[in-house]
């Protein structure tokens, strides 16, 4: 039933492909890096872990150059609308590359790897793979592309989670992650298929135009969207799609936990925003008449649930990693508040919040790793008296936690400020959401402060004087992260502008 394309068509196809490649450089570059790493690993047979890590660092750093060049390219579609290049995507490209870099740095600081695995092998390669996947998630404009990139990220994540092969917790986490991830992505695909059925299109923009053109069967649509949301929700780890998160975060190697909790969450949000802003109709008259089926209300539900659940359950955690895992669920809730506003300001707020979350969460996990290196534990009890033994780490962790609570003068406060401003800019419509956010952040203060409470207000049971100094470079990195957390808390202009820049979504001007 298909007739073969004529030579001319093939010519044009090839032409457009070659044209697209121009705009595809970072991804290509990163893929090359990915393979390079594997080759290096094969050659240097895991003897020189530093070689790998350094290469990764440099490689990722190098990719920034290409991304930077993309800033001056016109926004547009690539590969027949499969893929887009816009400020939104560029913002996230930077974001993911940086988080990749930080993940590598953190990994280098973690002593657990020496004990757990013989060689770093494909570890760094997989991190790069994840970066690629997430970048593509952020820039894909087609359901197929979305699915592919998401799976790329997920698979790398599964493996990285289970990277400590001999560690039961790590493996268990991997299994759970796998099963849960597989199911929810499966559901997502099923949802995609339904949407395809409704519209006959896989491209987001075509979908939205189709939907607004011909309308749709609301029942089927809601089912499809729910299934899709299951997929996205699992990525951003929001209630009720969060169940994997605590276990995986606890079980996985700490750098991976940090990486997942920041980067892959951010990727999920990139997808979420693109999909909900473009594909499915929202706002405006289009959806008013569809029997009150309202994606926003759905998101509101999710975000409220996440804020309450994450914070309340975190109260009971005795393991710092797990505590941070729950807090990251709560933060997904806060981020969703920004999405709910559904306008440029909201997007900007979300992006800024992502940036702040990036800084403070990585920072927190970094300190946790350093402490774990010395004490070999992540339990709250073992944090007692650390404030005296590791003053800088203590101070840094306190700053990060304060930032996570959202107190000035830290970056976290700015994030919350923007989110709430975005909500209140809609008048009293979303005030109650803001109230919930405020309340829950007061709760969060409590469990975050438990850590400084143990570090400073409690004396450590064992008074043996072993050297607790994490070393020069880690100290510097900590100091830098801490400095930025505070600095951007006071002078957040550049980052806010950057977020503003990123909030321009694929040419379409948000109202």
């Amino acid at each position: 039933m298909f007739e073969l394309p004529s030579g001319a068509e093939i010519q044009s196809i090839i032409a457009s492909l070659t044209l697209s490649v121009e705009f595809f450089k970072p991804e290509i570059y990163l893929s090359v890096l990915f393979m390079l790493l594997i080759v290096i690993d094969l050659v240097a047979k895991g003897k020189k872990n530093n070689l790998l890590s350094i290469t990764t660092l440099l490689g990722l750093a190098g990719s920034i150059y290409f991304i930077f060049k993309q800033q001056f390219m016109p926004a547009g579609e690539l590969f027949f609308g499969m893929y887009v290049l816009d400020e939104f995507a560029i913002f996230f490209k930077y974001f993911f590359v940086l988080s990749g870099i930080l993940a590598v740095i953190i990994t280098m600081a973690d002593d657990q790897f020496e004990s757990e695995v013989k060689s770093m092998g494909e570890y760094y390669a997989l991190i790069v793979a994840m970066v690629i996947g997430m970048i593509m998630m952020a820039s894909s404009a087609d359901m197929m592309m979305i699915f592919l990139s998401m799976e790329l990220v997920s698979f790398s994540a599964f493996i990285l989670t289970g990277y400590f092969k001999r560690n039961p917790r790590s493996s268990e986490a991997a299994l759970k992650y796998l099963v849960y991830g597989a199911v929810s992505s499966g559901l997502m695909v099923y949802g995609f298929s339904l949407i395809y059925g409704l519209t006959g299109q896989t491209n987001l923009i075509n979908i939205s135009s189709e939907l607004s053109l011909h309308g749709y069967d609301p029942l089927l649509m809601i089912l499809a969207t729910l299934l899709v949301l299951a997929g996205f929700g699992y990525k951003i780890g929001a209630v009720p799609f969060h169940f994997w998160a605590p276990d995986v975060y606890e079980g996985a190697p700490t750098p991976i936990t940090a990486y997942l909790s920041v980067a892959s969450k951010a990727a999920g949000f990139a997808l979420l925003m693109r999909f909900f802003y473009i594909a499915v109709p929202h706002g405006g008259p289009v959806y008013e008449d569809i029997l009150g089926i309202n994606w926003v209300s759905l998101l509101i539900l999710i975000s409220v649930a996440s804020m309450i659940y994450g914070n309340v359950v975190a109260l009971w955690q005795k393991n710092v990693k797990r505590l941070l895992a729950y807090s990251s669920i709560a933060h997904a809730g806060y981020l969703l508040l920004g999405v709910i506003v559904m306008d440029a300001f909201g997007t900007q707020a979300t992006l800024l919040y992502l940036l702040s979350y990036f800084l403070m969460n990585f920072g927190a996990f970094y300190v946790v790793i350093l402490i774990a290196n010395k004490t070999g534990s992540e339990n709250l009890e073992d944090y007692r008296g650390l404030g005296k033994k590791m003053p800088l780490a203590g101070a840094a962790l306190t700053v990060f936690l304060i930032s996570l609570v959202g107190l000035p003068p830290t970056f976290g406060f700015i994030g919350k400020l923007m989110i709430f401003s975005a909500l209140l800019s809609k008048g009293s419509l979303y005030l109650w959401l803001a109230l919930i956010g405020i309340m829950t952040s007061v709760i969060s203060l409590y469990y975050y402060m438990l850590i400084p409470l143990n570090m400073y207000l409690r004396e450590s049971p064992s008074s043996e004087e072993k050297n607790m100094n994490p070393g020069l470079i880690p100290n510097i990195i900590m100091a830098v992260l801490m400095f930025f957390t505070i600095y951007f808390g006071l002078f957040f202009q550049p980052l806010a502008d950057f977020a503003k820049y990123g909030s321009a979504l694929f040419g379409l001007k948000l109202h």
């Binding site: 849960y180 299951a230 009720p240 402060m449």
Partner: protein
């Protein structure tokens, strides 16, 4: 600025100077610097004597008045009011001049006396410093031209009395007494303060002159009842300071202080300040207020007299007699015998100071024995004291030829006149009580003189277990011999203690005040101190009748009101004219009755104590309930202890419990329960609980506990829940869609 003002400022500041010098440097100075105190007070007295001379003797003018003030607080241009300032100032009129002289004189004498009495005390220097600050604040009250500064010095007087009562603070009784005195005064001050506030809220000024001007102009916007209330509230200040019922309880305990202090503060000057203050505000007191004042005065006079009969502590007898006499003065003001009351104030100041100093001499000589039952026969040992003491006693009892006689009779005459004007009935209670108290006064003073100076020394009768206290009267009867208190060397006191006695005694003779021993009205005092014109009546006429305050007044009043409406202000309030007239008429009746009463009292005392025709102990037994009632001071202390003090302490405990458990508990969200739960869980859940104070930790915490159970760790349950949610939401919308 008038030269007198300048002088008065000097007088005011001198004692403060002595305070400052002595409080800081007394240890560096020889003799702990007592000469500084005496010297400075001497100067102060000299100056005020000069003021007295110029005002009273040279410018012999009842209406004499100079005033000066300065802006103390400037509140700027207040919205709605305009420029607003709080002024401080000084006013000198006849009354001020007299009070100045009196206060400085007595203070000087007490300083002098104390150099003997307090010699060798370890805080000797500090004592004179305190005397200094007291004199300063007392002079401040006397000189103030506005309510605010009077209130300030009022409290300062309270402070200095607090310090001086508690001078022997190692004694718990002294510490209790000083606290009691301060608090009782505070109660009065609160009333006074409220009164001040009422007036201020109307006129936005504290100055007497301006307030009276506004009142006279009828600018008082609130109802007349408020004016009465203001008057009575201000009077409460007097009730506190002048130890009127119901706040009289502190004065007797105040005798814990050194005796010269009792003489200066708790007999002559400070307690008189209350009366002085009422005199200052006399013009704004409505008739209703005056009635209340009169009754309180009368009752106080009577009650204190009855108590004084049975007291055994020599100072307590005098203390209660002081209360009683103050009652007279207040009564006098209440009935409108303005000048008589002030006259009594002055005379009483001198002879009561004399009595206290005398008792001090006795106590000094008796090695701090204060219980009259163990004294006796002292007239041989200390003739000077005896003579002066007796003279003062006669004055107090109000025998003719003494100053007390004139002043007291003037008051009583006023009382009779008042009763007549008010149309008799209940109002006759006041003069009756007055006369009866006069008799009682004579009686207990007779008793005291006899017990102290006559008969044989009873020192050896003192039981060992009786610790200087008049409370255990029953200890008197089981007297068993031991002479650890044998009266060795009871001797006359030294000159520096004797001189004040003599001077004060001399000042309680009639000719100092009036050529005619029977009529103080002919004396310079009554001529100089005239009843001021009230501003209330004119207020009536200005605002128009129909005010509750006047409705109750008898016809004479109403008539007078019309008169004043026509605007003739010979006596602003015809009621005053009426009073003046009738009381003058009642003058001689008063003399007769009171003389009879006094003589009755003295004879009774003689019958009982001298000739033992009636045995006091037996009578005490026969009328034991009455006796105890009087001996225990009508049980006021016990009543207050049981009600107010216990009550407020209990209340405070309750409130504190409430604070800790209810409020904290409420805000902490049932923290208690949860804390117990939390202890069960682990060590720091406590902080989870209290950490979440502000929105019911309990709920949040338990929801957490429940929700975390969802995290079963079984991946399949996760999937189930995921699908459940999706399906549930789907169904929800499905139903939304169908219906």
């Amino acid at each position: 600025m008038h030269s007198l003002i300048q002088l008065s400022i000097v007088v005011l500041l001198l004692p403060l100077l002595s305070f400052v010098i002595l409080i800081f440097f007394n240890r560096r100075l020889p003799r702990r610097g007592d000469f500084v105190g005496v010297g400075i007070l001497g100067t102060a007295f000299a100056i005020s004597a000069y003021i007295f001379w110029t005002v009273i003797v040279q410018t012999y003018d009842p209406a004499f008045r100079v005033a000066w003030n300065f802006t103390w607080i400037d509140l700027g241009n207040v919205p709605g009011i305009g420029p607003l300032t709080i002024k401080m100032g000084i006013v000198i009129d006849n009354l001020t001049a007299i009070m100045l002289a009196m206060v400085t004189l007595i203070s000087l004498l007490v300083h002098l006396y104390s150099t003997g009495y307090m010699a060798g005390d370890k805080n000797y220097g500090r004592y004179f410093a305190f005397l200094g600050i007291f004199t300063f604040s007392m002079l401040g009250i006397v000189l103030s031209d506005n309510l605010f500064s009077i209130y300030i010095f009022w409290e300062l007087v309270g402070l200095s009395s607090y310090l001086l009562i508690g001078f022997f603070f190692e004694k718990d009784s002294a510490a209790d007494a000083q606290k009691k005195a301060f608090l009782a005064n505070r109660v009065g001050d609160i009333g006074m303060w409220l009164g001040i506030l009422i007036l201020y809220s109307q006129f936005h000024t504290f100055s007497f002159a301006e307030i009276y001007a506004n009142l006279a102009a009828g600018k008082f916007a609130m109802s007349n009842a408020w004016l009465t209330a203001a008057g009575l509230l201000l009077f409460m200040g007097c009730v506190g300071k002048s130890a009127q019922f119901p706040l009289h309880i502190w004065l007797p305990d105040a005798m814990e202080g050194p005796t010269p202090v009792s003489a200066l503060i708790h007999a002559a000057t400070m307690v008189a300040a209350g009366v002085y203050f009422v005199a200052r505000i006399f013009v704004l007191l409505t008739p209703d207020a005056l009635h209340v004042i009169a009754f309180i005065g009368a009752f106080t006079a009577f009650m204190a007299a009855t108590i004084a009969i049975t007291q055994n502590d020599i100072k307590r007898v005098l203390a209660y007699s002081t209360v009683s006499q103050l009652g007279y003065m207040v009564l006098g003001l209440g009935v409108g015998a303005y000048s008589a009351a002030l006259f009594h104030l002055v005379t009483h100041a001198f002879f009561k100071a004399c009595l206290f100093l005398g008792s001090g001499a006795i106590i000094h000589a008796m090695h701090h024995e204060q219980d009259m039952r163990w004294m006796g026969g002292l007239r041989k040992h200390m003739p000077w004291t005896f003579a002066t003491f007796t003279l003062a006693t006669l004055a107090l009892a109000g025998l003719p030829l003494t100053s007390g006689f004139m002043s007291k009779d003037a008051i009583l005459a006023g009382a009779i006149g008042f009763a007549n004007v008010e149309g008799g009935g209940v109002y006759y209670i006041i003069p009756v009580l007055g006369f009866f108290s006069a008799m009682l006064t004579a009686f207990y003073m007779g008793r005291q003189i006899w017990l102290v100076f006559f008969g044989e020394s009873r020192t050896h009768l003192k039981p060992a277990d009786d610790h200087h206290s008049a409370h255990h009267a029953h200890g008197a009867h089981d007297a068993h011999n031991d002479d650890h208190h044998a009266d060795h060397g009871v001797h006359e006191v030294s000159w520096n203690m004797r001189a004040p006695l003599v001077i004060l005694a001399a000042l309680s003779v009639f000719f100092v005040y009036s050529p005619n021993p029977l009529d103080g009205a002919q004396g310079w005092f009554m001529k100089m101190i005239k009843t001021p014109a009230t501003v209330v009546a004119s207020y009536q006429s200005a605002v128009g009748s129909g005010h509750s305050a006047l409705k109750e007044l008898p016809s004479a009043e109403a008539a007078g009101e019309h008169a004043s409406e026509k605007g003739e202000h010979t006596f602003a309030d015809p009621r005053q004219a009426e009073l003046a007239h009738t009381s003058h008429a009642a003058h001689y009746t008063a003399i007769y009755i009171s003389s009879i009463m006094v003589i009755l009292g003295i004879t009774l005392a003689g019958v009982v104590f001298v000739f033992k025709i009636i045995d006091p102990d037996k009578t005490a037994e026969t009328i034991r309930p009455l006796y105890l009632f009087s001996l225990n001071k009508w049980y006021w202390d016990e009543i207050y202890q049981a009600t107010f003090i216990r009550g407020s302490l209990l209340l405070s405990k309750m409130l504190y419990w409430f604070d800790r458990n209810i409020i904290d508990g409420m805000v902490n969200g049932a923290a208690l329960i949860v804390r117990n739960v939390a202890f069960a869980n682990n060590s720091f859940d406590k902080y989870v609980v209290d950490g979440l104070v502000n929105f019911t930790a309990f709920s949040v915490n338990t929801t957490g506990a429940v929700l975390r159970k969802l995290q079963t760790g079984k991946v399949q349950t996760y999937v189930v829940m995921l699908l459940a949610v999706v399906f549930g939401y789907f169904v929800f919308y499905f139903t939304r869609l169908i219906y």
